[in-house]
């Protein structure tokens, strides 16, 4: 092994999301779509066919009337750090974990579109391009040059704004530094959150906000018991909100009609 091939510093980027601050405004979803050149929804798209690398779910405590309480839960790729379910199922190595950053990357240009990874993901954080990407005439001028648009028939997902990581890396290199400084690289959703509910940083850096949040007693991760070591930490002081991390409860006979 040649030393030069080794990353200078091995980072484990992660996120903390304060559910007590999320207003469900959707700014993260929109900023994400703008940053990553996700096309406007096709008219035939539904909540289950669209591409939302980050999606905010409205979750309630299951009560009726005045006792009802809701919380907004942004769900994105949880960047599983252990036994990453989507990585080893891909038949052609289109999904990989970057050893330098711990980010689970999806290479749409190598994707066959078999959707096995989507079946493997417990968080439904992977999206298939059911349609050819299309922008209204002229709007392609507003595309982000750092991210290539994807073709129909491939899977894509959150990669913590890989284009931004590259740009940060280049800026750091231009400044003569070997590492990206804390705060010099944040994904678009983090930057756009008006309430600052989403925080981003290197979990290996004990001073970073996600690392601090990870140790908080009120922090939790979704489906932690699966043992996939997701790197997105959620935080809420409300007890019932922390229950969203658990497995689904059997149905109580009613369906949420809005979904």
């Amino acid at each position: 092994m040649i030393a030069a091939n080794k990353p200078n510093k091995i980072a484990r980027y992660g996120m903390s999301i304060d559910l007590d601050r999320c207003t469900g405004c959707g700014a993260c979803m929109v900023a994400c779509a703008v940053e990553n050149n996700v096309p406007p929804a096709h008219e035939g798209a539904t909540a289950r066919k669209g591409i939302t690398w980050i999606r905010v779910f409205k979750v309630d405590n299951g009560e009726e009337g005045p006792a009802r309480r809701s919380v907004f839960v942004p769900v994105l790729c949880q960047q599983c750090g252990e036994d990453t379910p989507c990585v080893h199922v891909c038949p052609q190595q289109a999904v990989e974990v970057d050893p330098a950053t711990g980010i689970v990357g999806q290479m749409p240009e190598r994707c066959l579109g078999c959707r096995y990874c989507m079946a493997a993901c417990p968080y439904h954080a992977r999206f298939f391009n059911w349609w050819d990407p299309q922008w209204p005439a002229g709007m392609e001028k507003t595309l982000n040059p750092d991210v290539a648009p994807r073709m129909r028939g491939v899977v894509e997902k959150c990669n913590f704004c890989h284009g931004r990581w590259h740009a940060a890396k280049e800026r750091a290199a231009a400044a003569g530094k070997s590492e990206i400084e804390a705060g010099a690289y944040v994904p678009a959703c983090v930057e756009s959150c008006p309430t600052g509910a989403i925080r981003f940083g290197d979990l290996k850096d004990a001073a970073s906000e996600p690392a601090v949040a990870a140790k908080d007693a009120h922090s939790f991760r979704l489906l932690e018991k699966l043992g996939t070591e997701p790197k997105i930490y959620y935080h809420s002081k409300r007890d019932w909100v922390r229950q969203v991390a658990a497995a689904p409860k059997p149905p109580n006979g009613k369906e949420n009609a809005r979904g």
């Binding site: 405004c25 929109v30 703008v34 909540a47 907004f72 507003t142 982000n144 073709m151």
Partner: protein
């Protein structure tokens, strides 16, 4: 040596077999994979020099500071400006997609300005006594608004119309509030300047009294689920505990809850009461709680040139007699408050009124106007943005044109000024000069994040800075405080275009309409429609949610199409049954059709399509 065909074939075969042993053919196959990655028809993002440019968002009165990431001058993404004293680096979902609006498929591209001008000339000449020429300005307070007022002053029978100012023109100082009671106001969902509200949020206790669990209610410290339409009764009881028993009956809360709330508001002051519609009861309660001068302040006026002082007064639509407007200009190039078309229409003369709308899409009043002239849209347009409701200080900032507007766009103020026979001049710069002349306040520039006292800046530099992204903050040198109990100072019965809350529940219109979309923007970027479709976070425009029982009573089962009917008319909507909406309410995502017939707290009914 004789070479036969067989030798050549052998040579070729051997060569091919040998080539298979080199990496070349395999490399070729690998490269073919890379070529196949570029499917035809997929746009390639343009490349170019990446720069940051600054502006202010013109999509709502908040006017948040914006940093645009530009590639070869073309904005490709927007973000807030960290450190901005008001917007605090935040942008809402609508604002984040503003740079895509110029490419909206429903954008209006052509108009007939000459014909419109001729029609206006003819109608103005015909304008008889008791008839008027009017400008309806949805975003008053801009330099362009002053041009309209000057123009209307220059015209005989000229009238300048604007939506009623929220809170009677007072400004909210959230930073001072310790307890905020919101009577259905979407405080955390698009009210005021989002960044400012979220920054102040940690310092006040928020109590949301609202029939359904709105976004604000979900995030409030306390949510009081009250019966639809009982906000006024609650406000009255909080001011006057004697009415608590009847209020308890009206709201569905207990008397104790009401009295506790009243105690809390006084004990944990300064308090602030906000309501979805400007309820006079809420203003009176604020007054009683001593909010004036504390959490509610009168903002100093942004200076204007002296030459502008000869201007038509600002009037509300309701104050104009019915069937009296012969010529009406509507400026909706900058979004503002909305007035249902039904309320405007009845003010027009019966015989051939001329309505000229200035809009960037046909989704607004343009659908009803004889002439709709296309205008530039944010971020093409250049316009100042009046101070936001939650800014106690006077502000002046310009939404700068980041993208050149296409040819053939009309300039509303030039058009109206010309029709009135006055010279519009460069109103924006004249006003900037007037502000500079006042010498007050500081200038916050976005690129460097610095605040500089205005007196240290030369006029040219001030104008240049304003055009490169900056906010002038007037400071609060002369806060108009109002004393407690000073009845004359309370804004009285507010004229409102919308049917009021106190329209009692009737058999004709049993449902109360509540809007869920924070900004009644006529159109948003296609990416927002994506947000509507791809998630159940927000309903799509022209959709309503209602309790299944309510739906059943109206003969609607399941998600379906229906007709929404109010006193102003009817329109087709999509209906979604949702148990989280209390019975008797209709949670509506505004769309152009709905806005034509609904104001806030309209009573309505739903009929199966």
């Amino acid at each position: 040596m004789q070479r036969t065909r067989r030798d050549i074939l052998l040579f070729m075969g051997g060569g091919a077999a040998g080539a298979m042993l080199t990496p070349a053919p395999w490399r070729l196959v690998t490269d073919a994979a890379i070529w196949s990655e570029n499917w035809p028809g997929i746009p390639r993002p343009a490349r170019g020099e990446i720069t940051a440019r600054y502006t202010n968002c013109a999509l709502c009165p908040a006017g948040c500071a914006v940093r645009a990431r530009c590639v070869a001058g073309q904005p490709v993404s927007l973000a807030g400006v960290a450190g901005n004293p008001l917007s605090q680096g935040a942008l809402c979902a609508f604002g984040l997609t503003g740079h895509q609006l110029p490419y909206h498929p429903q954008r209006l591209k052509q108009g007939t300005p000459e014909e419109a001008a001729a029609a206006v000339r003819g109608a103005m000449a015909k304008c008889g006594a008791g008839e008027s020429v009017a400008v309806l300005d949805l975003a008053p307070g801009r330099a362009a608004s002053w041009t309209y007022r000057r123009a209307m002053a220059a015209v005989a029978n000229g009238v300048y119309l604007a939506p009623p100012p929220p809170l009677g023109g007072a400004a909210v100082n959230l930073a001072k509030a310790r307890t905020v009671l919101s009577l259905g106001a979407p405080l955390l969902d698009g009210w005021g300047t989002p960044g400012n509200v979220h920054a102040a949020r940690a310092n006040f206790r928020l109590i949301q009294a609202e029939p359904w669990e709105s976004r604000t209610a979900a995030l409030a410290d306390e949510w009081l689920p009250i019966r639809p339409g009982s906000e006024a009764a609650l406000a009255l009881a909080l001011k006057d505990p004697k009415t608590a028993p009847s209020a308890a009956q009206a709201t569905g809360l207990t008397e104790k809850q009401i009295l506790d709330l009243a105690n809390e508001l006084t004990a944990n002051g300064p308090a602030l009461v906000l309501s979805a519609d400007d309820l006079p009861e809420a203003l009176a309660l604020n007054h009683a709680l001593g909010a004036w001068g504390q959490t509610l302040v009168a903002r100093p006026e942004v200076p204007v040139p002296d030459a502008w002082k000869k201007a038509a007064p600002e009037r509300v639509v309701a104050s104009v007699p019915d069937n009296s407007i012969r010529v009406l200009f509507i400026d909706e190039s900058v979004p503002g408050s909305h007035i249902p078309w039904g309320a405007i229409e009845k003010k027009l003369v019966r015989d051939n009124p001329v309505v000229v709308a200035f809009a960037w899409t046909l989704e607004g009043y343009g659908r009803h106007a004889q002439f709709t002239l296309p205008t530039a849209v944010y971020p093409e347009l250049t316009s100042d943005i009046p101070p936001a409701i939650d800014s106690p200080a006077a502000t002046f900032r310009i939404s700068v044109s980041l993208v050149a507007p296409p040819a053939g766009m009309a300039d509303p103020s030039a058009f109206i000024a010309k029709a009135a026979g006055i010279d519009a001049g460069n109103a924006l710069q004249e006003r900037a000069d007037a502000i500079h002349k006042s010498g007050r306040g500081t200038l916050f520039t976005y690129a460097d994040g610095k605040s500089t006292p205005l007196k240290d800046i030369k006029p040219d530099a001030f104008w240049k800075s304003l055009n490169e992204g900056a906010t002038w903050l007037g400071g609060a040198e002369e806060p108009l405080t109002r004393r407690r109990g000073d009845a004359e100072e309370i804004p009285g019965e507010l004229p409102s275009e919308a049917p009021r809350l106190r329209v009692s529940a009737s058999d004709t219109f049993p449902l109360l309409v509540a809007f869920t979309t924070p900004t009644p923007a006529t159109l948003s970027s296609p990416l927002m429609s994506k947000l509507y479709q791809d998630s159940d976070l927000r309903m799509a425009p022209n959709t309503a949610a209602l309790h299944p029982d309510t739906a059943r009573a109206s003969g609607i089962t399941g998600a379906s199409r229906a007709v929404l009917e109010t006193q102003y008319g009817r329109c087709a909507i999509g209906v979604i049954p949702d148990e989280s909406v209390p019975p008797g309410m209709l949670e509506v995502a505004a769309g152009p059709e709905i806005l034509d017939i609904c104001g806030a707290f309209t009573r309505a009914k739903v009929v199966a399509a």
